[in-house]
Symmetry: C2
Subunit: 344 residues, 2 copies
DNA sequence: ATATTTCTTTTAAACGTTTTCGAAACAAAT
DNA sequence: ATTTGTTTCGAAAACGTTTAAAAGAAATAT
C-alpha cells in the first residue's frame, strides 16, 4: 500500500484538460467556465485529491502556518496555565482563518540546533507570535527585528504590534479593593524583577498605595518566582513571623497564592478571618476552590484572539496594518479570600 | 526590505560550483571533497542561507512535521491539564529528534473545512499522534485507518501502536489503599461511560471491590463529566444526603475532586476527618494544596515521551517497528485526603 | 601507452503547484 | 471581410530542493 498521492496531473489526465486549468478550476479563477470547474471538482473529489501544502508554499511563498514562540523562566512550556489559555484562544482564531500553528522553540539536539529566526525561515512561517519569553535573549531579538510579521504578547517592542494585559489597572483595582476592605498592612509576594510584567505590576503597586496614602513597608515586599508554591510558602511563613505581620498578602499569581494559603493554614490561621490573600490570573481552580480567590482574572481569551487577529491582518496587509499596542483589561474577581476588616 | 531568501542557487553562484554540489556539500554526502564542503558551508553561512522546508518536503516526501490530534468532550483543547502535560512531553521528545509539531484539529470555518485525514495529507505529516479523542468519530476512524504512521494515546486500535495509562492498576491501587485505611462505604463519582478510560476504570473498580469482598452499592455510583467541578459538587451533595452516606468518595479526576471538597466543606464537614476524598491524575495543584490529595499520579512525562519515541521509530522504519500496546503505570500518591478509620 | 579504478563534480529530471502570457474560438461590430 | 472584444483554455516557466546517472579528472594498474 504505497503512499500514492493524487496530484493535479492525475486530475488533468482524468479530465482531459491541462494542469493549469485544473489548478485554476480548483482555485475558482474567473477564466474557467462553470462547466469545466464542476467537472474538475467532481473528478478531484472522486480521485480523492488533496492539495499539497509544501508545493503551494514553495510556489506562493505562503505557508498558512504561524510560528509560536514561548519560553518562560521555568520552561513550563504548554503546562503554563496562563500561556496555555492564551495559546488555545490564539489557535482557535488562527485556525478559523485557515492557519495552522507550529512551535518555534525546542531543543532540536539531534539536528543542528537552529536559532528561532532560522527555524522560522526554514518553515516559512507567514507570521510569528512571541509570548512570555525572556525578551533579553539575543535570539528573540534577532527574530523580532527580522522582516517576518510579528506580534508580541506581554512585552512591547518598538515598531511591533503588542498585546499586553493591563497590569497597571489590574494591580490598581486589586490594591484598591483590598484597601477598601480596610487593609493597610498589605504585603506583596511579587514575581522576579527581571520581567516587564513584574516591573509594571510593582510600579502600579507603589503608585496605588501612594495615591491611597498608604506607606509601603520594605519588609512586606518579597520577591519569589512565578508559579512557585514552595517559595511562596516560605515567603509567607516569614511574613507571618514578622513582629507586625500584614493583614493581607498579595501574590504574583494564583499558583503562588495557593502556596501561601498552605503556609497560613499551617500556622493555624484562617483565611480570610485571620489573614487575607489575593492572587493574580484567575486560573480555573482559583475560582472553584474555597475560599474563592480574590484575584484579577486575565482575559486570556481576548488576548489570544486579538493577537491572532492582528497578526493575520499584518500578514495579509503588511503595509496597511496599524502598528499598535493593544491593552487587554482583566477583571477583579472579589472572591472571598480578602476579608472586610473595616470597623462597623 | 523585500524578503529575499538565499537559496542553493545563490551559494552555487558565489562558490562557482553546481547547485547539486552545494546541496550535497551541505548534506554531507560522501562524494564531495572536504575542501569543497568547507568552502560551501562557509559561504552558505556568510550569505545567511537557510534550507527551505517546503522544497525539501516536496522533493523528499518528508516534512519532519508531526500532526497532533486532540479533541476532548469539553473541547478544552490545550487547557486540559492531563493532555497539556502529555503534549508538552511529546513535543520535547519530538523536537529533540528534529520534528516539529502542528495541530490537526480546529474548525477552519473560513477555508473549506478539511477532514482530519485531508489535513494530515495536505500538510504531509510524517506521522500523527491521536489522544483523548472521541474515537467513535468517523473522521478519526478514517485517519487511523489511513496509511499514515499513527500512535494513539489512551485508546487501543487494531494494528496500531497505543500508549495507554494503566487505569486498571491505578484504580486497583487506589481502591486497595482506601480499603486498607478501613473504608468499606466507598462511592465513585466516575466519568461519563462513553469513553474507554471510564470503562476500564469502572471495571477495575468493580473487580477490586469484589476481590476485597466489599459489595458495590448502586447509590454510591454516580456519573459526572470529567473535570467538572459543578457536577461533582452536586453529586457529592446528594451522596452526603443519603441515609447511609459513604465514608470515602472517589472522583473521576482531581478537578472534580475539588468540586467535591467544596461540597463537603459547605456541609460543615472536614476532610479527611469526616469524609475522605480521592482524585485521579495528580495534577500539580492537587499535590500542593492542603489537604494533599490522595490520587493516582499519571506519568504524563513518560506517556508523551514514549508516544513520540515510538511514533518516530515507526516513521523511520515503517516495516520493522513492533506494533504494540505500551502500558504506563501511574503511582499512588497517598496524600492526606483519605483518613485511616481502622479501629485501633 | 592504455585500461582500470577511484574520487569528484555536473547535468538534468523531478516533486506539485501557481501564474503569466499567448492562442483559439466565437460573437459582435465596423 | 476585417477588426475588436470576450470567453475559455493551455504552454511553459518558476519556486528550492534532491538524486540518479553521466562525465571528467586524477591516480593506479597492466
Amino acid at each position: 500500500m504505497a503512499r500514492r498521492i493524487v496530484s493535479l496531473k492525475d486530475i488533468s489526465k482524468a479530465c482531459g484538460v491541462s494542469i493549469a486549468t485544473v489548478s485554476k478550476a480548483l482555485n475558482d479563477h474567473s477564466d474557467i467556465s462553470k462547466e469545466t470547474k464542476e467537472r474538475v471538482r467532481e473528478i478531484a473529489d472522486k480521485l480523492g485529491y488533496h492539495p499539497n501544502a509544501a508545493a503551494q508554499a514553495l510556489k506562493t511563498n505562503r505557508s498558512n502556518n504561524i510560528g509560536v514562540l514561548f519560553v518562560d523562566e521555568a520552561n513550563s512550556g504548554l503546562t503554563h496555565d496562563y500561556f496555555s489559555h492564551v495559546l488555545d484562544s490564539f489557535k482557535k482564531k488562527a485556525e478559523q482563518e485557515g492557519f495552522d500553528i507550529t512551535f518555534i522553540n525546542g531543543d532540536r539536539s539531534k539536528t543542528n540546533k537552529m536559532s528561532y529566526l532560522s527555524h522560522a525561515i526554514y518553515r516559512g512561517f507567514d507570521g510569528v507570535v512571541i509570548a512570555c519569553v525572556e525578551f533579553s535573549d539575543p535570539e528573540v531579538d534577532e527574530l523580532i527585528k527580522s522582516n517576518i510579521p510579528v506580534v508580541t504578547i506581554d512585552h512591547t517592542f518598538y515598531n511591533r504590534i503588542a498585546i499586553v494585559s493591563d497590569n497597571i489597572k489590574g494591580i490598581r483595582d486589586l490594591v484598591t479593593y483590598i484597601y477598601e476592605q480596610g487593609h493597610r498592612k498589605i504585603a506583596y509576594v511579587h514575581g522576579l524583577e527581571n520581567t516587564a510584567v513584574t516591573q509594571s505590576r510593582l510600579t502600579s503597586f507603589y503608585n496605588t498605595l501612594q495615591d491611597l496614602g498608604v506607606p509601603v513597608r520594605d519588609e512586606y515586599m518579597v520577591s519569589s518566582p512565578y508559579r512557585n508554591t514552595e517559595k511562596a510558602f516560605e515567603a509567607t511563613t516569614k511574613l507571618l513571623e514578622l513582629p507586625d505581620p500584614p493583614t493581607c498578602i498579595m501574590y504574583s499569581d494564583d499558583f503562588a497564592a495557593f502556596g501561601g494559603i498552605n503556609a497560613i493554614r499551617q500556622k493555624g490561621l484562617r483565611i480570610p478571618e485571620d489573614v487575607s490573600v489575593a492572587g493574580y490570573d484567575g486560573i480555573e481552580l482559583a475560582r472553584r476552590i474555597s475560599p474563592l480567590m480574590t484575584t484579577i482574572v486575565q482575559d486570556t481569551d481576548r488576548i489570544g484572539r486579538v493577537a491572532a487577529s492582528k497578526l493575520i491582518d499584518l500578514i495579509n496587509n503588511p503595509k496597511g496594518t496599524l502598528i499598535e499596542q493593544i491593552v487587554v483589561e482583566g477583571t477583579l474577581e472579589k472572591g472571598e479570600s480578602v476579608a472586610n476588616i473595616n470597623p462597623v
